[in-house]
C-alpha cells in the first residue's frame, strides 16, 4: 500500500479558526480540501506536512451565490462536480463549466474543489513520481535535489501550471479572496501565480483562499479547448481559453490565456494587442495564433506528455481553433471530447 506519512489533523469549523491554526507553524502545516492533489503528492513524498488542516467542515467556504452586481461568488471548497451541475454557472459561464468538466475524472471531481484547482502544485515528469523513482535520479531541484533535469544548466524549476479552471477564470477577470490571521485581501486571480515552478503561488503559506468571484457576464463570447492524450484522467498539456467582447464587427476587448505551457498561466499579450480594435476574421485570427506560439512564457519543455516541439505547434493550432469558434467561423479541427 502506498501510505500517507503520519501527521496531526485538524478540522476547524470557521475560517478564523483555520487561519489561527495555520498561523502557528505555517512552514510545516498544509491545508487540504479535496485532497486529490495533496494526497498523491504526500504519498509520493514530494510534499510533506506535520500538520494538516482540512477546510471541508467550514460551511462559509462552501457554496455558490450570485452577488448584487450579477456576478458569482464560489466558495473555495465547492467541489468541481457541484459547479458543473449548478444551473446558474451553466447559464452564466458555460465555457468555464466546459473547462471544469475537462478536469480529471467524474469521481475525482466529486472530491476535487475549485480552491484546490487554483492552488494546484506545478507538475513535471521528473517530479510526479514515487520516492524510489526520484531517488534513482538523485531527485531534482523542486524537491530534495539540486539539478533541474529538464534544463540542467537552468537556475530555476520549470514545472508546469496545470489547473484547468485557471486560464478561463483569468480570461473572465476573476478575483480571489485570501484570508489569514492578519485579515483578508482581495486580488485578481492572475496575480496569484508566480513564474517559478517551485514558488508558484504569490500567496503566503499562512493564507487560505476562501472564495473566487467572477464578474457578471457582459456579452462576451468564449471558447476553451484542452489537449491531452486521453479524454479523461490525464492532466492537460495545453489549454486555451478566450473571451471576446465585440460591438458589431469590431473586437472591443479580448482575453486569451494559455494553461499547461509554463510555470504560470500565460496571457497572450501580442495576440491580444493584434486583435483589439479589429474584426475577428480568418486572417487576423491566423496571425494572432502565430503570435501566441512565439509569445513570452509559452515555452513547452520536455517535462510533460508529448514532444515539446509538437506541443509548440499545437499552441498555434488550438489558439486558431478556439478563436474561430469564438468568431463563429467554421472550426476545421476536430474538437476534443472530454468524458
Amino acid at each position: 500500500m502506498l501510505r500517507l506519512p503520519a501527521f496531526s489533523f485538524h478540522s476547524p469549523e470557521t475560517v478564523t479558526e483555520a487561519a489561527r491554526i495555520l498561523a502557528q507553524d505555517p512552514g510545516n502545516t498544509r491545508v487540504v480540501a479535496g485532497g486529490t492533489d495533496l494526497w498523491p503528492n504526500m504519498k509520493r513524498r514530494h510534499q510533506g506536512a506535520k500538520t494538516i488542516v482540512s477546510l471541508r467542515s467550514i460551511p462559509e467556504m462552501n457554496g455558490i451565490c450570485v452577488d448584487d452586481k450579477g456576478g458569482v461568488v464560489i466558495g473555495a471548497t465547492t467541489t468541481l462536480d457541484t459547479i458543473i451541475r449548478n444551473e446558474t454557472m451553466q447559464e452564466k459561464y458555460p465555457t468555464l463549466v466546459k473547462a471544469i468538466t475537462s478536469i480529471s475524472s467524474p469521481v475525482l471531481r466529486n472530491a476535487g474543489t475549485i480552491g484546490g484547482n487554483l492552488c494546484l502544485d506545478t507538475r513535471c515528469t521528473y517530479y510526479n513520481q514515487n520516492e524510489e523513482w526520484r531517488r534513482s535520479i538523485s531527485y531534482c531541484m523542486k524537491a530534495e535535489g539540486d539539478v533541474c533535469w529538464v534544463a540542467p544548466s537552468s537556475p530555476r524549476c520549470w514545472a508546469v501550471s496545470s489547473g484547468d479552471s485557471v486560464p478561463m477564470l483569468c480570461a473572465l477577470g476573476a478575483e480571489i479572496s485570501l484570508h489569514s490571521a492578519d485579515g483578508e485581501r482581495v486580488l485578481p486571480l492572475a496575480e496569484l501565480f508566480n513564474d517559478d515552478g517551485m514558488d508558484y503561488l504569490s500567496k503566503r503559506p499562512d493564507e487560505i483562499l476562501t472564495r473566487v468571484r467572477i464578474p457578471a457576464p457582459s456579452g462576451e463570447r468564449t471558447g476553451y479547448w484542452k489537449l491531452r492524450r486521453r479524454g479523461s484522467i490525464d492532466y492537460g498539456v495545453l489549454s486555451v481559453a478566450a473571451a471576446a467582447w465585440c460591438s458589431g464587427e469590431t473586437t472591443d476587448r479580448i482575453e486569451l490565456w494559455l494553461g499547461s505551457v509554463g510555470s504560470t498561466p500565460v496571457r497572450c499579450d501580442a495576440s491580444i494587442d493584434h486583435l483589439t480594435g479589429k474584426p475577428l476574421t480568418a486572417e487576423t485570427i491566423a496571425e494572432a495564433a502565430a503570435m501566441a506560439r512565439k509569445g513570452d512564457g509559452a515555452n513547452p519543455l520536455g517535462n510533460t506528455d508529448f514532444a515539446p516541439q509538437w506541443r509548440g505547434k499545437m499552441i498555434e493550432k488550438y489558439v486558431e481553433a478556439v478563436l474561430r469558434e469564438v468568431a463563429g467561423l467554421p472550426v476545421e479541427r476536430l474538437a476534443p471530447h472530454h468524458g
Binding site: L2, L4, A6, F7, S11, G48
Partner: protein, 191 residues
C-alpha cells in the same frame, strides 16, 4: 516546503463510528489513514480493491452518501456521520444486485480487479439516471480503468442491468455478449 520524514512522528489515533453498508461500526485508526486502508485493514472489507492509490485507476471507488468517491484519496477520519457503501453492501437481501447479475451473465468481469469500483460507479449512475445513453454511461465511467475487457462487456452489462431495474423485460443484450448459458426464455444457440 522541504519534504520531511515524519515516520518517527507519533500517530494521532482516533476512535470513530463509521456507518458502512447500513451498519454502524466503531473503529480505531490513525488520522492519516485513508478510508481504503481502514476498510481493508481494520474492517476486513477487502472487496474494495487497491490499485494505483493515487486517484488514477478508480478501482477503490466507494459511495459516500450515494456519491462515488475514491477511497484511496479520502481520509477515514472525515467519513464519520456519512453513509459509506462498498461492493459488499450491494446485494439486496440474498439476491445479487442487477448490476452484479448482469456483469456475471455477460462476462463483464475478467480478472475482476476493476469490477468493484465500476459496480459502485454504475450503481450511483443508475440511481440518478435509470435510462442513461451509451455516452452518459461512458462519461460516468471515465475515471474507472479496466485493463481486460475492452469496456464493451461492461457497457453492455450496465445497459442490461439498467433495463432490468426499469422493469423493461423486452430488452435483450446482444446475442454475442452472452457468456455461458442462454438467457432465461432463450433457445440455446447451436454455436
Amino acid at each position: 516546503m522541504e519534504q520531511q520524514d515524519h515516520s518517527a512522528m507519533e500517530h494521532q489515533q482516533v476512535f470513530k463510528k463509521l456507518s458502512v453498508n447500513g451498519e454502524p461500526h466503531s473503529v480505531g485508526f490513525s488520522v492519516h489513514h485513508s478510508l481504503l486502508e481502514v476498510l481493508r485493514e481494520q474492517m476486513q472489507l477487502t472487496g474494495t480493491k487497491h490499485g494505483c492509490e493515487l486517484g488514477e485507476c478508480g478501482t477503490c471507488t466507494v459511495l459516500i452518501d450515494g456519491q462515488p468517491v475514491l477511497s484511496c484519496l479520502e481520509l477515514a477520519v472525515e467519513c464519520e456521520g456519512r453513509e459509506i457503501t462498498t461492493v459488499e453492501g450491494m446485494m439486496i437481501g440474498n439476491d445479487l444486485h442487477p448490476l452484479q447479475e448482469a456483469f456475471a451473465d455477460l462476462g463483464a468481469a475478467q480478472c475482476g480487479y476493476c469490477t468493484p469500483g465500476i459496480l459502485m460507479t454504475a450503481k450511483a449512475l443508475l440511481e440518478e439516471n435509470p435510462a442513461p445513453t451509451r455516452d452518459e454511461v461512458v462519461s460516468a465511467l471515465a475515471g474507472n480503468l479496466c485493463r481486460c475487457t475492452g469496456y464493451h462487456k461492461i457497457l453492455e452489462g450496465i445497459d442490461w442491468a439498467a433495463a432490468k431495474m426499469r422493469g423493461d423485460e423486452d430488452f435483450r443484450p446482444p446475442r454475442e455478449a452472452i457468456y455461458g448459458d442462454p438467457l432465461p426464455g432463450e433457445e440455446p444457440s447451436d454455436a
